[in-house]
């Protein structure tokens, strides 16, 4: 019941999260208490309580009236794998940006992402990648003068 019902799942996540938040708030430095104004603990603490409260409410709602399941159509195993890999690919892009620079990382990302999403035509893939990365680079770096990360090879 816990995982099939979005309300209980959400509720329990929120309750756990709020517990973590309240714990962290209690570890805030004491030095602030001397100031006249509202303690810096005030807001985070009450937001923590709010999350606790609403998390419990949502949990109880889930118990009383089971909602529609989370996904209308249960996603296929393949698309779940695709989604996870895609997200990891974005993470890899982030990781390589400072190392390899914008142009190289983005090209690799675009090529691999399209392959992941089943673009079988290699040439089209490369052409799209080239055009898009070039356009982005021109737009940001040249036109708008926003410096994009450079790799050890200067671009």
């Amino acid at each position: 019941m816990l995982t099939k019902n979005p309300s209980t799942l959400l509720g329990s996540l929120l309750v756990l999260f709020s517990a973590g938040v309240l714990y962290l708030v209690s570890r805030f430095s004491e030095a602030a208490e001397t100031f006249r104004s509202l303690s810096p603990r005030f807001f985070p603490e009450y937001m923590g309580y709010a999350l606790l409260l609403f998390g419990s409410v949502i949990f109880l709602q889930g118990v009383r009236r089971p909602r529609a399941p989370v996904f209308e159509v249960r996603p296929s195993r393949k698309s779940v794998l695709q989604a996870v890999s895609f997200t990891m690919l974005v993470g890899a892009l982030l990781y390589f940006l400072p190392i390899a620079g914008f142009v190289v990382s983005s090209c690799l990302f675009m090529i691999l992402a399209q392959l992941l999403l089943e673009e079988k035509r290699v040439l089209v893939n490369l052409l799209r990648t080239g055009t898009f990365v070039f356009a982005m680079h021109y737009l940001f770096s040249t036109l708008l003068r926003v410096p994009l990360p450079r790799g050890p090879w200067g671009f």
Partner: protein, 324 residues
């Protein structure tokens, strides 16, 4: 067949790119310079720096690309500049926080971790009240504060900021206490609060308060510089009125420690010329800010003295933290 050609082309391009990677023997500067500003776009430091850099570009022959890195009143930017390669292609600017952060435990470094290229700007603190406020002179204000400690509400940025330190210096020297309030809108919101009657007075550099001052909404009780400010010759200094309170917020340009002396010199010459440019002078005069052009030696001496002054002041107001 077509694929093979593309691959070869790709390989050739890669090799060409690798070969054109910069070598060290070229004259400085041979590519764009990154200038890191530790404050948000559109803020005081940002605008001043942008105008300055636009002028300095011409003397350097390479574009200066400005990057905003707001965070902790410059803390993030200082750390980043100090860790950059000392080749002169990463520089950035400071305000007085370069001397306060390390004494408050925000970051572990101060100006010694850098080569200071130039000091180009200075804004003294000043005290402002509403146009129809009961205090006509600084003396009346101070004496009133003495009679009613912790009652006069003065808006003065946030704890540890240069603005607030300027006010606290007055408190310490005269042994009086105001009710100091922080502003939600940042340093520049102070004058607005005074004009709207929400606070009794505010501490702000003339730059920040000039608009409302010109509009006649607020008036100054005194400015915390050694001599009267050029742009505001009618404002008496604290010292003239018998109060030994001097507080400036200066701006420097930093380069990472170890940057070669020729590079630092070239940067200094370029920025110095920029401070004399018509655009910059017009901008600073209209804003009401003071222009300086101290070289590395003078700047470093100044910063060392500033460190001492702020360290003592921070200890007196209880914000000092032992360095870890």
């Amino acid at each position: 067949m077509k694929f093979r050609k593309l691959t070869v082309l790709f390989a050739v391009l890669c090799i060409a790119a690798l070969l054109s990677a910069p070598t060290t023997a070229n004259a400085y500067p041979d590519r764009p310079i990154t200038y890191i500003i530790g404050w948000a776009t559109g803020g005081g430091s940002d605008l001043v720096s942008r105008v300055l850099c636009a002028e300095a570009e011409k003397h350097l022959g390479q574009p200066i690309v400005i990057v905003n890195r707001p965070g902790g009143s410059g803390a993030k930017a200082y750390v980043e500049i100090s860790q950059a390669r000392p080749d002169g292609y990463t520089i950035g600017n400071t305000t007085g926080t370069i001397s306060t952060h390390k004494f408050m435990g925000v970051i572990p470094i101060g100006h010694e971790a850098f080569e200071v290229v130039i000091t180009f700007n200075s804004d003294p603190g000043a005290l402002w009240v509403k146009k129809d406020a009961p205090w006509k002179t600084l003396e009346e204000f101070v004496e009133d504060a003495r009679k009613r400690p912790e009652e006069i509400v003065v808006a003065a940025s946030n704890p540890g900021s240069i603005t607030r330190l300027g006010l606290q210096l007055l408190e310490v020297k005269e042994d009086i206490k105001f009710r100091i309030a922080s502003q939600a809108g940042g340093e520049s919101a102070g004058p607005g609060l005074v004009a709207g009657g929400h606070v009794d007075a505010c501490q702000a550099a003339p730059v920040t308060a000039k608009s409302l001052y010109d509009a006649g909404e607020i008036r100054p009780l005194g400015v915390q510089s050694e001599v009267r400010v050029d742009a505001f010759p009618e404002i008496p200094t604290f010292m003239e009125q018998g109060y030994d309170v001097v507080m400036h917020n200066t701006r420097q340009i930093l380069a990472p420690k170890g940057t070669p002396k020729e590079v630092v010199d070239k940067l200094y010459q370029a920025f110095k010329a920029a401070t004399k440019s018509e655009t910059f002078v017009k901008f600073m005069n209209e804003s009401g800010s003071m222009i300086l052009d101290w070289d590395q030696q003078k700047s470093t001496e100044f910063l060392t003295a500033q460190d001492e002054q702020f360290k003592e002041l921070l200890q007196q107001v209880g914000l000092y933290k032992e360095a870890k």
